[in-house]
C-alpha cells in the first residue's frame, strides 16, 4: 500500500506526464479511445507498483516501459486494427487541409506496417520532437540504433507511399 503523501505525489506525476503518456499511447495503438484506456491503465499499474520505483531515476522512463508493454499487449490481443485516427494536417487552409488529411490517412496506415519499435521511434522523433538522445534514454538503446531504426522506418514509409510524396 502507498501512503497519502505518495498518493499526492503520484497525482502530481500523472498531471506532469499525462500528455506525453497519452501521445505515446496514441502512437502505439492508433486511436483516441484506446490511447486513453492504455495510458490510464498504465498509470494505475504504475501506482500499484510505485513502491518499486527508484526515485533517483526518471519517472517517465520507468513509466514508459509499463505503457509500452500494455500497448503491445493490446495490439497483440486485438485481431485487426479497428480504426486508425491519430494524425491530422496542420494546415488551416480548407482546400490544402483536405489534401493533407488524405495524405495523413495514408501515412497512418503506412505507419502501422512498421514494427512497433520503428513506429514508436518515428512518432517520438517526427511528431513529438524528441531528440535522438531522449529517445535513446527512453528506449534504453544506443543513439546509433535510434538513427538506424529511424532511417529504415523512413525507407519503408517511402516505399509504401511511393507516388504520393
Amino acid at each position: 500500500m502507498i501512503s497519502l503523501k505518495d498518493k499526492k505525489e503520484f497525482g502530481e506525476l500523472v498531471k506532469a506526464n499525462m500528455k506525453r503518456a497519452y501521445f505515446a499511447a496514441l502512437g502505439f495503438v492508433g486511436n483516441h479511445d484506446d490511447a486513453v484506456e492504455i495510458s490510464q491503465k498504465a498509470f494505475i499499474a504504475a501506482y500499484r507498483n510505485y513502491h518499486k520505483y527508484d526515485r533517483s531515476k526518471n519517472f517517465y522512463t520507468w513509466f514508459y516501459k509499463i505503457l509500452k508493454n500494455l500497448s503491445l499487449n493490446m495490439i497483440r490481443d486485438r485481431k485487426k486494427i479497428e480504426s486508425l485516427d491519430f494524425i491530422e494536417a496542420k494546415d488551416e487552409d480548407v482546400f490544402k487541409s483536405v489534401e493533407s488529411n488524405e495524405l495523413a490517412a495514408k501515412i497512418e496506415k503506412a505507419l502501422f506496417t512498421l514494427n512497433d519499435n520503428e513506429r514508436s521511434i518515428f512518432i517520438l522523433k517526427e511528431f513529438e520532437n524528441y531528440s535522438y538522445k531522449e529517445i535513446a534514454e527512453l528506449m534504453e538503446i544506443p543513439i546509433g540504433t535510434v538513427m538506424s531504426k529511424l532511417f529504415y522506418a523512413r525507407k519503408k514509409l517511402s516505399e509504401k507511399l511511393r507516388g504520393m510524396i
Binding site: 502512437g27 490510464q40 501506482y47 518499486k52 508493454n69 494524425i87 494536417a89 517526427e126 525507407k155 517511402s158
Partner: protein, 147 residues
C-alpha cells in the same frame, strides 16, 4: 547494402546538426546515384510529415484526466474489497450449509448427493478460474519491469 556512416550523416542532416566536415563527407556519398536516391526518399518522407500533427484532444479532456484515472484506481480497490468480503461471506455460508446437511439426517439421500456434486463442481470451477488468473498475472509482461 547501405553504409552505417551514410545513415548517421543523413540523420544528422535531417536533424540540422551536421558539421561542415560531415557535410563534405555526405556530399561524397551523394555522388553515388543509389545513395542520392535514398537520400531524396528520406527527405521526401520528412517533408511529408512536417505538415502533420498528432491529433490533440480538447482542453477539457486534460482537466478530467487525473480525476478519471483516480476514479478508476479507487474503483479497482473497491472491487478488491468487495471480492474479499463476498468470498468470506459465501465461504461461511457454504460451510454452515454443508455442516447442516451432514448433521441433519432427515433430508432425502439423493439431494445430499446432488448438492455435494454441485458444490464440488463449483469448487473446481472457482479453483480453475483462480489458477488461470494467477498464471495470467505471473506472465504479465509489465511485471518484468525493473527499476
Amino acid at each position: 547494402m547501405i553504409e552505417e556512416r551514410f545513415i548517421i550523416l543523413t540523420e544528422k542532416f535531417i536533424d540540422k546538426s551536421l558539421t561542415d566536415n560531415e557535410k563534405k563527407e555526405l556530399d561524397k556519398f551523394l555522388m553515388d546515384e543509389d545513395y542520392k536516391k535514398e537520400f531524396q526518399n528520406q527527405i521526401n518522407v520528412k517533408e511529408a510529415v512536417m505538415n502533420l500533427n498528432l491529433k490533440k484532444p480538447k482542453s477539457e479532456f486534460w482537466d478530467n484526466y487525473w480525476l478519471n484515472t483516480y476514479n478508476r484506481l479507487e474503483r479497482g480497490v473497491a472491487w478488491i474489497l468487495i471480492s474479499i468480503g463476498l468470498t468470506l461471506l459465501i465461504g461461511f455460508a457454504v460451510f454452515q450449509f454443508i455442516q447442516k446437511l451432514f448433521v441433519d439426517d432427515g433430508g432425502p439421500f439423493i439431494i445430499k448427493i446432488g448438492l455435494i456434486v454441485l458444490f464440488t463442481g463449483a469448487l473446481i470451477l472457482i479453483l480453475s478460474l483462480i489458477r488461470e488468473q494467477f498464471i495470467k498475472t505471473k506472465n504479465d509482461s509489465y511485471k518484468e519491469i525493473k527499476r
